[in-house]
Amino acid sequence: MESRPDDSRRRFMKGALWMISATTLGTGVMLSPTASAASSLQDYKPVFFTPDEWAFVLAACDRLIPADDTGPSALEANVPIFIDLQMQGDFGQARDWYMKGPFFEAPAELGYQSPLTPAQTYQKGIAATNTYCRQTFSKSFAELSAEQQDQLLTLLQKDALKFDGVSAKQFFDFLLQNTKEGYFADPIHGGNKNMEPWKMIGFPGARASYLEWVDLHNVKYPMGPVSLNGDRG
């Protein structure tokens, strides 16, 4: 069955209901948070992405880590908020990177050689993907069915689409990498809502103290995660 364009949003709403409850506040040291812990994706106003771009990011994240019974989806984990915040930070702006020219094409093994920052790569990549979708399907990426979106993402990943001024694969690689980061990075960065992704895999977060557990072999570590802000899950 083909899913309809608004499916992702509905799935997200369902997920959001399922998630209420998990947070209990601990007493850890407060670090300056970059996104309020209570942020909900519906109320969040993107600071970097335009409405068009935001619709793309929501839809793409929802395919990269979809909603199902296994564990939280990217949307349930606030991954798009993480990505939006990263775009204006040192990463999105490539502040730590050497960005002086000249820029040459080089073998992949010689690493990143694009003059674009990650944020610019997103802007150009989203625009080019949407243009392609409108030309091919008369719809934007966000309006496509889940199956079509998956096909599109696979084309980007395989570098099978040739865009002007941006590499489809580079764009996809940032998108996938940042989605996984937003899923598993400490909630202080805006994603990993209520540490649900950590709970799914059994990562105890920022506990960072295990001496008494070292020689207890082959038993599942029983404690839930702790975040940098002292929240406990």
Partner: protein
Amino acid sequence: MARQEKPVDVVLVGLGWTNSIMGMELAQEGLSVLALERGEDRDTVPDFAYPKMADELTYGVRYKLMAKPAKSTITVRHSLVETAVPYRHLGSFLPGDGVGGAGTHWNGHTWRPMPEELELRSYVENTFGKDIIPKDMTIQDYGVSYAELEPHFDFFDKVLGVSGQAGNVNGKIHEGGNPFEGPRSNEYPLPPLKRTLNDDLFTQIAKANGLHPFPLPSSNASAAYTNPYGMQLGPCNFCGFCERFGCLNFSKASPQTCILGALKQHKNFSYRANSEVLKVELADDKKTAKGVTYIDEQGEEVFQPAKLVIVGTFAYNNVRLLLLSGIGQPYDPVSNTGTVGRNYAYQTMGGATLFFKDKFFNPFIGAGSNATTVDDYAINQIDFAKEGFIGGSYLLAAQTNGQPIRSMPLPTGSPSWGAGWKKATKEYYGHSMSISSHGSNMSYRDCYLSLDPNYKDDHGLPLLRLTFDWKDNDIRMTQFMKGKVEALAKGLAPDHLNTSFKDFGAKYDVRPYQTTHNVGGAIMGTDPKTSVLNRYLQSWDVHNVFVLGSSAFPQNLQYNPTMLVGALAYWSAKAIREQYLKKPGPLVQA
């Protein structure tokens, strides 16, 4: 016009492991010692305090403790005929920055080199004959022997508080240690770290295969310890945020935890952070240095006069500073003349991941040096003539961290996104262990460092250019290790086995992290025609310039470099204290 500062006896360029050691040695001598460090000032408190460090994204993925390529990077190409392009963001190696350098965020694997590695060319020629050395391979002896360095290995062991099990104490082989190591005059200062499940499985299969497993020598302290400088370490709590992070627990040996606290008590020692040295200034005759020029915190250019200049800016940075300062003759691989930049080498790594559905490894219970190893395939154990390569590796089963963004191995063929990816992460997180090989890399005529003709830094100075690629000799070595690792891994009967070893034709890839064990370019030796430094790490050309760090290695060890880097710094310091200060001039006649 540069502002001029008050002269000092010694200026240290960079304040990582090497210059912390040299700073202590020369401050003890009563000299006025000033360190200039390009990065920020850092200390355990407040910079590495809990919970700040337990943040994978910031430190593990965004490299916030490392050097920023925007300010300092190199260019890379695979061969002489290509145009090099910049290493624009970090990947393959992670250079340090700030007080403590990379010594704050290393793992703490603390290996002595094998005696044979320090005299590699002689060892190969005498044991297997000259003819087995490929024509373009430029391996050399260090010009200093294991026996000469042993007292310094021993002392650095004590400064670091190394936890381990000795295998060879004064020639007597001890059960449970490395039987193939060079003789040590003492046991390790601390017993080995506690063992995790992967350690036990590896120990079991290694023994079953007739190998000799032992705990990896660790600069993560297994117990409370006070070092010779009175610096105190506490037991490592396996926090799982070790490599790429500063230790939140005073357990990882670092310049801060082992030396700087004591060094700062010396009134004749001082340091300035955010002070980047651009050049060593030479006297008119080019035979001595007058001091250094640096950019201070306010961005002002400053001339710092000094009688002795110690360059300790890390491996290839040292080479760049020599080239920018006109010290020594730049190496030219075509005419095979000059020395500065010659013999760059790296580290040949490979690995396997073993998945066990029914085992719980709890990978977040990890420490940088938590590993069990075997050295049965070491440089001095392999018949190079028979195997057709020169080199060796140690094999290790390590559990250092379970940080889920980076440490999420999945069986080969798992989807990289979508429902299948999510399911795989849930199914396999915490159910795998690794067995890796950590191997040598030989030096070659066309693997070298030079100034780049196209790219510049913010000061308008040329970036350093690396020309490097893998050679068949080292691929044969790693393929040999692949066979050994696979045999051990299969012996443990995992549900899935992933392997990753370089094969013939593999290109050097700057993207995945490998090691920050870059070596060579300002190598030590016995002949000024083929080395930049004499056996005391003194410049052949400018006698009051000493250059510390792995840039001195003529080819790479099969081990991690820092024990040798530190011991050589003590060896050099001893020569300065006992010989140079009495009679400044070349310590070895060219």
